[in-house]
């Protein structure tokens, strides 16, 4: 749904304050107002409505559990905002465990002075992202810190979900010959954020691809079950970081084919101009799948039939060589090592 339409459906309630103050986090009347007219009314559900210290949940069996904190700057960026990201990020982490995300906790650390309408916009994004992902926000917390002690808003979300009955996701399942599939174009989120970073602004229509991926992972698990050896979402540090972690933790070698890795033309061009490598750029709306060779093409076809993974592609193979390392080959026959990044990518001089 378009952002403007979301806002239309959920107009800002009449608060008698324009900005967040320390009093909103003190547990008194203002906290109550903010929660009652804001958070609770917007995110309404059976569990949250109990207004208890915690949520009462009915869960049995194998459960995946994940937490993540979101501190992105700027909080509103092309294609999304911190609220949407906070829901999708944790939903996806739970989904990568082969689980079906069901419940989220939601905690805010707000900086004194945050305009209430901005907070509301973020809440609305959270509401719609949660609805889209099919998860309920069942418990949470709000704290306010002094101006200058935070960057507008920090969000922590924690997610719970039952493991899919057919899933057997485990790093140790990956085997020599397994294919590495990426679900869609890489580096889009990282470059979208960079385009609005102070001091580096450049004009582009690149938008973050932040989205929940649980429907895709469930779709694949329904169809391929335990043949799916591994899901991972390559967020911070990009594909390069996540693949290096997988190679090191599994003691296998990974080989990528440079020309097979999908990157949108605009993103590729931005990386060229800025001297950045898409392999090291952050992602939010894609994931990687490790599967046996014999079903790899079918997995790609299933993914490509969906709106969210139209550019899915096989990008590499697991090998029993150069253990713990990731290599990349190009059509010329050249090879290089894809190293773990040292930190955030720094634009080069020339």
């Amino acid at each position: 749904m378009k952002k403007s339409l979301m806002k239309l459906q959920c107009p800002v309630p009449k608060f008698d304050f324009d900005i967040i103050t320390l009093a909103h986090g003190s547990g008194g009347l203002l906290t109550n107002k903010l929660l009652e007219s804001g958070v609770f009314s917007l995110l309404k559900n059976e569990e949250l409505d109990q207004h208890h210290d915690g949520a009462f949940l009915n869960m049995n069996g194998n459960i995946a559990f994940s937490t993540d904190s979101f501190v992105i700057s700027p909080v509103f960026f092309p294609g999304g905002d911190i609220g949407e990201l906070a829901v999708n990020g944790t939903v996806n982490d739970v989904a990568m465990c082969g689980a079906i995300p069901q419940y989220l906790s939601l905690s805010f650390i707000l900086e004194e002075g945050l305009p209430v309408n901005e907070f509301w916009d973020i809440l609305v994004s959270i509401k719609f992202a949660a609805e889209k992902a099919g998860v309920k926000i069942v418990t949470g917390d709000t704290k306010v810190v002094n101006r200058g002690k935070g960057d507008k808003i920090f969000i922590n979300t924690t997610g719970l979900g039952h493991i899919h009955p057919k899933a057997n996701i485990n790093l140790m399942n990956i085997k020599k010959g397994d294919k590495i599939i990426v679900s869609d174009d890489i580096a889009t989120h990282g470059i979208a954020i960079l385009s609005v970073r102070e001091g580096l602004e450049f004009e582009t229509s690149i938008e973050s691809d932040t989205r929940s991926l649980n429907y895709l992972t469930t779709l694949l698990l329904d169809k391929f079950g335990s043949d799916i050896h591994l899901f991972r979402d390559p967020t911070r540090g990009g594909l390069a970081s996540t693949l290096n972690e997988i190679a090191m933790d599994s003691s296998m070698g990974l080989v990528l084919q440079d020309e097979a890795i999908p990157v949108a033309t605009q993103v590729k061009a931005a990386c060229e101009i800025l001297g950045l490598d898409p392999l090291y750029s952050a992602n939010e709306g894609i994931f990687m799948i490790f599967v046996p060779d014999n079903i790899a093409s079918e997995v790609v076809n299933v993914l490509r039939a969906t709106e969210e993974a139209r550019h899915a592609a096989i990008i590499g193979t697991v090998v029993d060589d150069h253990h713990g390392k990731v290599l990349i080959t190009n059509p010329l026959g050249g090879k290089r090592v894809v190293n773990m990044p040292l930190g955030e990518q720094l634009p080069r001089i020339c």
Partner: protein
């Protein structure tokens, strides 16, 4: 992207590679001067497909690598001053100073900003009149016009809070210094395409004449580099020593004369210290006297002790092509990209970092 993908065509690249293999009969040491070319050779895996008879030597053309230690300490000193915003290109931030780097200074509270253009620093100065904005103006001839232009802009805007801390180095004097070094074993040079797009290649004729060494102006894409190497190999095999231009789509003999005018208006040529190599006569750009008020070195009284380089680091010999990174006793041990002892281990353009990325699997990859 069209103009890039055309120069990355693997089929054409294979043809050129085949041509190099057919032409070469002897072993040759070819130095690419520019760090951007080193980066591309590594990134595109070209080092791993070249015939064994070719040894690529990675020259001193990484601006990050040759910026003097002392100047990095100065930049850190300025950044840590209350009223200073220090602006820099991104990859300078990790270069080790004598005690810390700019990233660490930033973490400790210094106001350090990563910018793409010095003109953005001028805008910052305009917006922050209560602060001093200093741009860390490093680089070869390529970045000199934009740095010079920033000074002209600041002057036009009447800004008194903008200055640049310069470390501008020049390619032709570096080639001369390398050729005069008795230990050097360079058979030919790939000259840096970007530098020549500004300066042209007329400066190389006397060098070719004097040292009887082929110089081919070369671009940065895989096809550019392979063609440049082929042109060099042909000259070497035929016993010729000429200036040739592979990068014709960008470089003219006289270069970009407008940019040169801006450079010479703002800068004058003077002696310059190169990290790891030492001082090379007339090898740098310094602000002219009439722009002294924009010279951060003169504007601020900078009190730092002259630090000396880590004695174990053989960066100088590596940048001169005399030693290979893995001949250094510290390589991959005390000195890694996570903990660099010297600048060539910092930037992805630095020779040591480039080799480090390969070396860990060197034996299994048959490079």
């Amino acid at each position: 992207m069209k103009y890039l993908s055309e120069y990355r065509n693997p089929e054409l690249a294979k043809k050129v590679l085949h041509e190099i293999e057919k032409t070469i009969t002897k072993s040759w040491n070819i130095m690419e001067v520019c760090g951007g070319q080193t980066h591309s050779l590594v990134k595109n895996g070209i080092l791993s497909v070249l015939p064994k008879k070719i040894t690529m030597l990675h020259g001193p053309g990484c601006p990050v690598c040759v910026t003097p230690l002392n100047l990095i300490d100065k930049a850190i000193y300025l950044a840590e001053k209350e009223d200073v915003i220090l602006c820099s290109f991104g990859d300078m931030l990790r270069v080790p100073g004598s005690k810390k780097n700019l990233l660490e200074a930033k973490a400790q509270g210094a106001d350090v900003r990563i910018l793409y253009s010095p003109l953005e620093a001028v805008t910052l100065a305009k917006q922050n009149t209560d602060k001093e904005v200093v741009f860390f103006a490093v680089g070869f001839e390529t970045t000199a016009p934009a740095n010079a232009l920033s000074v002209l802009h600041a002057e036009k805007l009447g800004l008194t809070n903008y200055s640049i801390l310069t470390s501008h180095v020049l390619v032709p004097p570096a080639i001369t210094a390398l050729m005069e070094d008795p230990e050097s074993n360079i058979d030919a040079f790939l000259a840096a395409g970007h530098v020549c797009s500004i300066m042209g290649y007329w400066e190389y004729f006397p060098l070719v004449e004097k040292y009887k060494i082929p110089i081919v102006v070369t671009g940065f894409e895989p096809l550019d580099l392979l063609q440049g190497i082929l042109m060099v190999v042909k000259q070497l095999e035929e016993g010729r020593a000429e200036v040739e231009n592979q990068y014709v789509r960008m470089v003219k003999e006289k270069g970009n004369t407008t940019a040169q005018k801006i450079i010479s208006d703002v800068f004058e040529v003077g002696d310059q210290m190169w990290r790891g190599i030492g001082t090379i006569g007339k090898s740098g750009f310094h602000l002219r006297g009439k722009y002294a008020r924009f010279d951060a070195n003169k504007k601020f009284s900078i009190h730092i002790k002259m630090a000396s380089e880590n004695k174990e680091c053989i960066a100088g010999n590596i940048m001169k092509g005399i030693s290979k990174p893995f001949e250094c006793s510290q390589f991959g041990k005390a000195c890694t990209p996570q903990n660099p002892l010297g600048a060539p281990m910092v930037s992805s353009e630095g020779a040591c970092a480039a080799y480090y990325n390969f070396s860990t699997i060197y034996k299994t990859m048959d490079l």
